[in-house]
């Protein structure tokens, strides 16, 4: 009997052991309703209101990050105010429905963050935590999706995104418009990231908490900066940032891809994604092979402007049956195709101006075009498109296009030049 009792005690111990261990590891296991109840009062709805009509122009979320009333949110939530401070003001609403005003203390346009100060002191705040987290950790995101009221969304931490220019946390959970700028918390209520973007189907992204901490530190002593000074700061941040990521782009060691008789640049850095495609159909008397590379990351500047997108596109056209004059009708058409920018309005950019030349490069002659337009509110920043078409062949040709957005003119020239030097003929 003693033996039986002993065995029974051992079995009971072994059965309960995991429970005991987990209880020791996570003494507090807050439920989702508890998390919502405990932290929702530190989260506010942020509306950018048009002063003339008192109508809301944009909506987002933010949270108190200290007892002084400083609020962290996304830059893109309040970008309208940055661009036209005379036309907009910020209105915040807490979970109890109390509204108040807030002013901007600082922005980090590269990481899409802004720090505001509310006029009244908060009852409490959320702490930021930059400690690394295991993949699969449960996270809770708070925000105002489509102005439907404060909402809590559960999801999981899936590590930092690989091959991106700006580190982002991959959050598997449904973020929706309006939740931008809201906090994503651990069960312990620590903010690990700030809601920033979504690609649908539960693929969402967070700005890591340390970027918000850095901006809070930078604006710790700021009292009330002039609203007009932010645009200049935004421009400066973009210029400083692009110098970093464009510096080595298209240097001679750029990876190569062979396209017909040409030797061309591809995937200059890890954060580019490249695709290739070919059109060879029986009914067409020509063939087209294309190679397309672009950065996924961009900096949100305003609803019609972004900076930092680099895209290049090679298209090889060839024919065995078209007369050279007919082939060149096709070739000219492709060289002139896609000559309109998707975005841009009169308040934000100048029209394009272009320069066209026949250029003798190291390995052959090309027709080159450089088109550029300037940003009106961010002086010193330009959108540019550099195009080149190889000349000399009667039945083949390469059109290659490099698009840059929101870069300095010096960078337009130097990056386009390095790109051109990378277009080579295979010998």
């Amino acid at each position: 009997m003693k033996l039986i009792n002993y065995i029974a005690a051992l079995v009971l111990f072994l059965t309960l052991a995991p429970v005991r261990n987990s209880l020791l590891a996570q003494p507090v296991r807050a439920t989702t309703p508890e998390i919502f109840k405990q932290y929702s009062e530190h989260v506010v709805k942020i509306e950018v209101v048009e002063t003339g009509s008192a109508a809301k122009a944009s909506l987002g979320t933010g949270f108190f990050a200290d007892g002084l009333g400083r609020i962290v949110t996304n830059y893109h939530v309040i970008s309208k105010l940055i661009h036209s401070p005379e036309r907009y003001r910020i209105e915040i609403t807490d979970v109890a429905g109390r509204t108040g005003a807030a002013s901007v203390l600082g922005v980090d346009v590269v990481y899409d963050l802004a720090v505001l100060r509310a006029e009244r002191r908060p009852k409490g705040f959320l702490a930021l935590d930059a400690k690394p987290i295991e993949q699969g950790t449960r996270l809770y995101s708070l925000g105002h999706p489509r102005d439907l009221g404060l909402t809590i969304v559960e999801g999981t931490h899936n590590g930092l995104l690989q091959h991106t220019l700006y580190p982002k946390i991959h959050f598997t959970g449904s973020l929706n418009p309006g939740m931008s700028g809201g906090p994503t918390l651990t069960q312990a209520g620590k903010v690990v990231g700030i809601n920033v973007a979504t690609e649908g189907n539960q693929i969402s992204f967070l700005v890591p908490a340390e970027r918000a901490t850095a901006l809070l530190d930078r604006t710790a002593k700021v009292e009330k900066p002039a609203a007009a000074s932010f645009l200049a700061e935004v421009g400066q941040q973009i210029l400083t940032n692009q110098t970093r990521y464009l510096a080595g782009m298209f240097e001679p060691n750029t990876p190569r891809v062979a396209l017909g008789p040409y030797d061309l640049p591809t995937k200059p850095t890890e954060f580019f994604h490249c695709w290739a495609d070919a059109v060879r159909r029986k009914e067409l008397p020509y063939a087209s092979v294309s190679h397309d590379c672009s950065t996924d990351d961009y900096i949100f500047v305003s609803s019609e402007q972004s900076s930092g997108i680099v895209r290049f596109f090679h298209q090889l056209l060839s024919t065995e049956e078209l007369h050279p004059l007919r082939f060149f009708t096709l070739y000219s058409g492709q060289f002139q195709a896609g000559n309109a920018a998707m975005f841009g309005n009169e308040e934000e950019v100048t029209p394009f101006r272009c320069e066209t030349r026949n250029v003798s490069a190291a390995t052959g002659k090309l027709k080159t075009v450089l088109c550029a337009r300037q940003y009106l509110k961010l002086p010193g920043l330009y959108d540019a498109v550099f195009k080149a078409a190889t000349l000399g062949s009667r039945n083949a040709g390469l059109v290659t296009t490099l698009s840059l957005s929101g870069v300095s003119f010096d960078n337009v020239q130097s990056v386009s030049r390095r790109y051109l030097e990378n277009i080579k003929w295979r010998r």
């Binding site: 009914e283 070739y331 000559n339 100048t350 030349r357 027709k367 450089l370 550029a372 337009v412």
Partner: protein, 325 residues
């Protein structure tokens, strides 16, 4: 009896519309049927003017106390009498008259250039030009297509254009019939066809020029001036067969019409350039030539020249900012 001279009634342009021989003096002019020269002008009195020799043998025109008087040439002031020499012009009412003696000097005989015009009138010329236009359209449709084409596609593509040309020549022929009582259809067709051939040649030439020298605004300037000249020549040619206008008047009419068209084009162009657009306006014409024939600048030069873009954009941005509230 041989005439001493002639009284000529001139039209508004100074051309002779009637001529009356002066066989006996004195001679009376007026609206009444009793006059030797009867004028059909409501501003002329029934008995308006008498022409007679004075004691010294001078030929004198004398106002017969008319309501609207006698004036010399284009002068405003009324005169009671006027001595007439060969070539003297005078005005009564709204009628301009001239006296010419029989020994009045004549302009040299004009050389008849209608032989050239008759070559233009030849149906063979029209057919030749018509075929040339058709061939040009067919070639153009063939070269500007990048799909496989059958012969019937090549020929049928330009048919709408051909019918427009025929319609154009037809309208001019109708105008000719109304104004100068002759259709002159082959001539109008030849003129329209020649203008099309000239315009197409000019376009091809300017495309090649712009391809070789992209820094020159060849296409823009030929579109403006070359096409303007061709248009002037077209109007001048058509008017030659569709109006009684003299060469000089036709030339002026043609230049005015073409100048107006070119001017309107330039204004539209200028307005479009000033308007905001997200389109990159560049000329990407490429041609199959051996690279060694192609004049080209160095990479350094291209990027050095691109500095001008920055200057231009800076000034555009400055202008745009000062225009914004």
């Amino acid at each position: 009896m041989a005439a001493l001279g002639y009284i000529e009634i001139l039209d508004a342009k100074g051309n002779v519309s009637e001529r009356h021989g002066v066989v006996a003096l004195p001679l009376n002019l007026g609206r009444a049927y009793t006059n030797q020269i009867i004028l059909n002008d409501p501003y002329v009195c029934p008995l308006h003017l008498a022409i007679a020799l004075d004691e010294q043998g001078r030929l004198i025109a004398r106002d017969l106390d008319s309501i609207n008087g006698l004036r010399e040439g284009g002068a405003e002031a009324r005169v009671a009498t006027l001595e007439l020499h060969s070539g003297t012009q005078f005005r009564i009412g709204h009628t301009l008259l001239r006296y010419c003696s029989i020994d009045h000097p004549l302009a040299p005989t004009a050389i008849d250039r209608s032989e050239k015009a008759s070559r233009l009138a030849s149906p063979y010329t029209s057919i030749g030009v018509g075929l040339l236009v058709l061939a040009m359209f067919c070639l153009d449709s063939y070269l500007s297509s990048i799909e496989r084409m059958k012969f019937v596609d090549i020929v049928s593509d330009p048919l709408p254009m051909i019918s427009i040309v025929l319609g154009w020549a037809g309208l001019w022929a109708l105008a000719s019939r109304i104004v100068v009582s002759g259709f002159h259809f082959p001539q109008h067709l030849t003129i329209a066809g020649t203008a099309i051939v000239a315009n197409t040649s000019l376009r091809i030439l300017s495309e090649w020029l712009e391809f070789f020298f992209p820094a020159l605004p060849v296409l823009w300037s030929t579109a403006l001036f070359g096409s303007g000249l061709i248009l002037a020549a077209l109007v001048y040619g058509h008017l030659g067969f569709a109006s009684p206008l003299r060469r000089r008047s036709r030339l002026w009419t043609a230049l005015v019409i073409s100048g107006a068209m070119v001017g309107m084009n330039a204004i539209t162009d200028y307005a479009a350039r000033g308007k905001f657009s997200t389109v990159m306006d560049y000329n990407g014409i490429l041609k199959p030539v051996d690279a060694s024939f192609l004049p080209a600048t160095s990479v350094e030069q291209f990027f050095a020249d691109s500095q001008k873009l920055k200057t231009e954009l800076d000034s555009l941005a400055h202008k745009a900012k000062s225009a914004q509230p």
